[in-house]
Amino acid sequence: MSLTTGPAAPQAAAVDKSPHGGGGTGRDRRGNRSLSKHNLTGWLFSTPFLVLFGVFMLFPIVATLLMSFTDFGARNVTRPLEAEFVGLDNYTRLFQDDKFLKALFNTGYFVVVGVPATIVLGLLAAILLNNGIHRARTLFRVGFYAPVVTTIVAVAVVWRFVLDPSDGLIVSLATEVGLTAPDFLGSETWAMPSLITMAVWRNLGTVMVLCIAGLQAIPADVREAARLDGAGAWQELRGITVPLLRPTLLYATVITTIGYLNVFEEPFVMTQGGPSDSTLTVSLDMYREGFNFFHMGYASAMAYVLFVVIMGITVLQLRLLKDNTR
């Protein structure tokens, strides 16, 4: 679900503002008679989706909120209605829970370091492949994008060996050139940067593809003119490419941020949150509280705190997007 929920969100909001597309709809909207013409069919076509949506999405969203105000525990899995209302207890406890605060901090760390790195490298890859390279473009694009489509668990397993302190690839390479590499996943300092590196490796392809599409929409004569005016590479990047790509870059930032705020698989497979909770993210903490300890009320509160954070940041970023596309 995470793969498909993210990408369309921001431009969805943008499209919503434009007048509805189809010619017929605009015509029909005025007359009530033609409006009702498709009432029954419209609802019949909508029903299957809405039923699934209601049962498996809307209901759980509301239920999570309700659960977050209860002491929902293991016994309530079979008897949900016996959970007791505890008001805001879960929420107040959360903000006194060092482990959760650490998870929140770690997630923030992941976003603050990971998002800019992903965006910058993705943009540079796009510029390189779009403007610098003409032959074997497909090969390069496939290579850069392949990590995006691969099963994260499988590549996480491989990364674990690449980063292994005893016979891992990087440690051995470092030894060969006379350097001592740290125990990446076993060190509180290095574990998080290692996971972030992996996430950047995995996600920069998405940013690259978006940016290539954006770059191809920039008219060639704009660049031409800049070059005739004697703009260097850096000036062109700052003065033309980045400003004209701004909507794309902000959109890429929004989806990358949402993805990283939800980060789960990397720490789950590679470090299990360790060492000493240094890679414990909010999603992983929620999973553990919910499904290992069955503190489901508490975990629900966690889910809602994360949701509010995500919504807040997304709305902020979308506002930027709107301001800049005007």
């Binding site: 969100a9 009702s36 299957p48 239920a63």
Partner: protein, 298 residues
């Protein structure tokens, strides 16, 4: 990690920005190819390591310094893996779930997409607003009560339990609506005048016209399902119902996994999970990149 950043950072800020076009930058082009090739190698290194290690002997796997090319190629890791894990079953589970999720998304998302694009009905804008709002909600917000619900319905460890939460996604509706808006209304009106019913119009006229969108939706939904991890992890306890990623992660985190040979099996397992995805991707990569670009910028 060090090798990554060390290799990537210097190449990055300096050159790619330079517009190399016909007359101006011929001399620079080989350098750009070198940079791009090094970057490509870094990106591909984990895959290469995975693929080569899957065929290594125990000695090669634990060799220090590590060897890239197996000194002796062996299928032992694969046979051991198939011996210890029921890979065909996991593969089948992943496939069944992904196919069902894809088919139901294609059908239900197209139907609602059609209604939103071409049928003016009371409440349409509210339904569309709901779809847009749903795009923003992270999946993790739902899994706790979803588990309770599925448990209550007796659907834990069933295909239905794995499929239903993903049977109709908002992304698909949005995508289909966008594409269906470009189908001319005149075409539909003409069919209506000829006495065609809405279902006929949808099925015989609109669906054939939006095949590229259906292809895009198929790819993304199938892969999303194939790669999905957290929900199958929660919704299965019985190893017989594990999907590939769950089986692989369980095996990877199993403390009893023997160290030397176990690693080779993990590489073999990873390869088996990733290979179909990479194959599909290699064949359909044009659709992928177009899909991303369209969904992102339209």
């Amino acid at each position: 990690m060090t090798a990554e950043t060390v290799e990537k950072t210097p190449e990055a800020p300096v050159r790619p920005a330079r517009p190399v076009r016909r007359r101006t930058g011929r001399g620079r082009t080989p350098l750009l190819y070198v940079i791009a090739s090094v970057a490509l190698l870094v990106m591909a290194a984990p895959f290469l390591w995975m693929a080569l290690s899957a065929f290594k002997t125990k000695q090669d796997l634990t060799a220090n310094p590590p060897v890239w090319i197996p000194s002796r190629w062996t299928l032992d890791n694969f046979t051991a893996l198939l011996d210890q894990l029921d890979m065909p079953q996991y593969f089948l589970n992943s496939l069944i779930v992904a196919v069902l999720v894809t088919v139901s998304n294609l059908l239900f998302c197209s139907m609602l997409g059609y209604a939103l694009a071409k049928l003016d009905f009371t409440g349409r804008s509210k339904v569309f607003a709901l779809v847009l709002a749903a795009l923003m909600v992270p999946g993790n917000l739902m899994i706790l009560p979803l588990y309770v619900l599925m448990n209550g319905l007796g659907l834990i460890d069933t295909y239905a339990g794995l499929v239903l939460p993903f049977a109709a996604g908002a992304f698909g509706v949005f995508l289909m609506r966008q594409f269906m808006q470009s189908v001319p209304d005149e075409l539909l009106e003409a069919a209506r005048l000829d006495g065609a019913g809405e279902w006929y119009i949808f099925w015989r006229i609109v669906i054939p016209l939006v095949k590229p969108a259906l292809a895009t939706l198929t790819i993304f939904t199938f892969l999303g399902s194939w790669n999905n991890f957290i929900w199958p992890l929660i919704a299965t306890n019985d190893p017989d119902k594990y999907t590939l990623p769950v089986a692989l992660a369980t095996f990877a985190n199993d403390p009893n996994r023997t160290v030397g040979g176990g690693n080779g099996m993990l590489m073999a397992g990873s390869l088996l999970v990733v290979l179909p995805v990479l194959a599909v991707f290699a064949v359909l990569q044009r659709h992928f990149t177009q899909g991303i670009a369209t969904a992102g910028l339209k």
